[in-house]
């Protein structure tokens, strides 16, 4: 059963086509993350779902009700914004109850709902403070509370953690996940942070130029990116790339030849075409391992120690390549190292159309 259903959604401004014939079904209780770089239309899509933007064409269904022409308040949604958007002159309690009061709800019930939400979010001691007296994390918790008291099916998050510092972001991320497991609401979450997307989502929709590139589970998106854009977008550092040609069982790049034994092609059969070979830094090694084949030997350009792991950069035929190795590795700058590759973990994309092979 679908909680949100977007059908042929189109949004145009005079000079820009922001969303292009977008179709998306979100299941009840699902945590869906809209991921993309700025300007890809992910926040716009969320605003369309919320009813804060007028659409050019298409339909939006929420809980099997066509809400395309309905006001935000009638759509059964709660929304959390990046800037928190708390009403500065009101106390936390008033912030939480404003929407209910506007609705004309009885005082007793407002009390009850505010109490329940503040208990869930552990903001009870803050109820009588103004937003200016709260820390960033507390503010965002109140903003979530404002969506919570509305007692709605669907939660919309618009980059809720982007204004917080790294540590707080990680903490609140876990809390949002916990909240979802507890409430089992449908949540749509917009972010440009791939870590947030991978950790929170049941499914991720990666967007680019107003179109969904891939809609899949985090594991699928990481292990089987459907095109070059998705492959390069997910993962840090980005996937290493080689441009060459598939000839039989080999990927040929100038004088180099990589045996593709074990790679799962989408279409079985013979391949003979120009292609990109991609491999994530964590799927390369600097020592021989089972199933790995030697790729090249190259000079270490830069070492980036990060404690538990070290990122080793190479200059490989004019491209920057990175390899993730264990932090204990004893490596020196300017030394030569052998790079080994696991063909099973490699990715092949057609030069034409840049789709996965």
């Amino acid at each position: 059963m679908n909680s949100i259903s977007i059908k042929e959604l189109d949004l145009k401004y005079q000079d820009a086509h922001v969303l292009k014939q977008l179709n998306l079904n979100i299941k009840k209780g699902e945590f869906l993350v809209l991921l993309g770089s700025s300007g890809c239309g992910k926040s716009t899509l969320l605003n369309c779902i919320a009813g804060l933007l007028d659409i050019s064409a298409g339909q939006i269904w929420i809980n099997d009700r066509n809400v395309t022409w309905e006001e935000p308040k009638d759509r059964g949604i709660g929304m959390v914004f990046q800037s928190y958007a708390l009403y500065p002159q009101m106390t936390v309690e008033k912030n939480l109850s404003f929407g209910l009061k506007v609705k004309g709800m009885a005082k007793g019930e407002i009390r009850e709902r505010v109490d329940r939400a503040s208990k869930i979010l552990q903001i009870e001691p803050l109820l009588h403070r103004k937003p200016s007296e709260l820390s960033g994390g507390q503010r965002q918790r109140v903003a979530i509370g404002r969506a919570l008291v509305r007692d709605v099916e669907v939660f919309l998050f618009d980059e809720p953690l982007s204004n917080l510092d790294a540590k707080l972001r990680a903490d609140l991320r876990v809390e949002i996940k916990r909240l979802h497991q507890k409430l089992k609401n449908t949540m749509v979450y917009v972010t440009h942070d791939q870590v947030e997307a991978l950790t929170l989502a049941d499914r991720i929709a990666i967007m680019k130029n107003g179109e969904i590139q891939q809609l899949s589970t985090p594991a699928d998106i990481y292990h089987k990116p459907c095109n070059l854009f998705v492959a390069q977008f997910i993962g840090s550092p980005s996937m290493n790339l080689l441009e060459g040609r598939i000839v039989g069982e080999n990927f040929v790049y100038q004088d180099y030849r990589v045996n593709l034994m074990g790679y799962e092609f989408i279409n079985q059969g013979d391949h003979d075409e120009n292609a990109f070979l991609g491999i994530r830094p964590e799927h390369l090694a600097l020592e021989p391992r089972d199933g790995y084949v030697k790729l090249i030997s190259a000079k270490i350009d830069i070492l980036e120690p990060m404690g538990d792991e070290t990122i080793v950069w190479f200059d490989f035929m004019g491209r920057k390549w990175s390899v993730k190795v264990h932090g204990d590795h004893q490596l020196k700058w300017d030394e030569d190292a052998d790079i080994y590759l696991d063909p099973k973990k490699a990715h092949l994309f057609a030069k034409q159309g840049e789709v996965r092979l």
């Binding site: 935000p72 308040k73 958007a85 708390l86 009403y87």
Partner: protein, 297 residues
């Protein structure tokens, strides 16, 4: 612990008084003096008696300071044939200024709010037209306005002059509030919409309480503007409601008997007292108001 001796530059950089800095101060000081001298002359002249004024010693302090001229200016000075002092004008100005300021600010803030948050087709055009109003010289519209007010029967009435001030205040008030509301985060408005608040609920419960700083600026701008107005008051207010500025002119210009400089000075200071008080009470906001008017108007 061992104290380390530092040689060479250390600690805060020493402040040096350069020649150019002194020059700047000298210029500012003389400019201040230039503007203060008339005020000084007015003040001491208003405290002198006529016999002392006739000595022609413009800058000397009064030998026997008295507020007699002030009392006369307030209650007995003659403008034309009436000798009630400038107080009638003061109260007329109060009656004109308070409603005009209030109404123009309320309407301007609603305009600004609607234009910055509730974008509708043609809202930018409407704003452009409204702004254009700020650049149309008074003189161009005075005659049509006289005819308009005459036709609706408001010419020469208190309501008429309040209406005129409201109209003339609209462009700058709308601009001021629109710019202020545009600087507020859009998400605040979106959050209120998701919460289900309507046009007026968002305005009165969310936006109005947030716009206190700009409202103070608006009050200052409008109060000084309307209080100091001469032309509109003279034309539209009618004989019964002439504002203080017009009456001041009448008192000073009355050539009947002795020209009482001390009374004229006192009346002038009394008239200027309201803008002066506003300036002194809200210096910081006043500067902001002028800046808003200058840069954005």
């Amino acid at each position: 612990m061992e104290q380390i001796q530092l040689t060479g530059p250390h600690g805060p950089k020493p402040k040096k008084t350069t020649v150019s800095r002194l020059g700047v101060y000298a210029f500012l000081f003389s400019a201040a003096v230039f503007f203060c001298i008339p005020l000084y002359v007015m003040l001491i002249t208003s405290l002198k008696g006529m016999s002392e004024i006739r000595l022609g010693e413009l800058f000397s302090l009064p030998g026997d300071p008295s507020f007699a001229a002030w009392v006369k200016a307030w209650g007995e000075a003659c403008s034309g044939v009436e000798c009630n002092g400038i107080q009638t004008g003061f109260w007329n100005s109060v009656k004109i200024t308070i409603p005009s300021v209030a109404i123009s600010i309320i309407l301007g803030s609603i305009n600004g709010y609607a234009l910055s948050f509730w974008r509708f087709k043609g809202s930018n055009l409407l704003f452009g037209i409204l702004l254009f109003g700020a650049f149309v010289p008074f003189q161009v519209v005075i005659f049509p306005l006289i005819i308009f007010l005459r036709e609706v029967g408001l010419y020469g009435s208190l309501t008429g002059i309040i209406l005129i001030h409201t109209i003339f205040g609209m462009p700058i008030m709308t601009l001021l509030f629109r710019n202020y509301f545009s600087s507020l985060p859009d998400e605040l408005f979106k959050a209120a919409r998701v919460d289900g608040a309507n046009f007026w609920q968002i305005f009165f419960q969310i936006m109005m309480p947030l716009s206190i700083p700009v409202t103070v600026v608006a009050v200052i701008l409008q109060t000084t503007g309307i209080w100091n107005d001469y032309l509109l008051g003279l034309i539209f207010a009618g004989r019964e409601n002439l504002p203080m500025t017009v009456q001041l002119n009448n008192i000073v210009a009355t050539t009947f008997g002795v020209r009482e400089y001390n009374v004229n000075m006192a009346a002038t200071i009394l008239t200027a007292l309201v803008p002066l008080a506003i300036y002194l009470l809200s210096g910081k906001y006043f500067v902001r108001g002028i800046a808003a008017g200058a840069v954005k108007g």
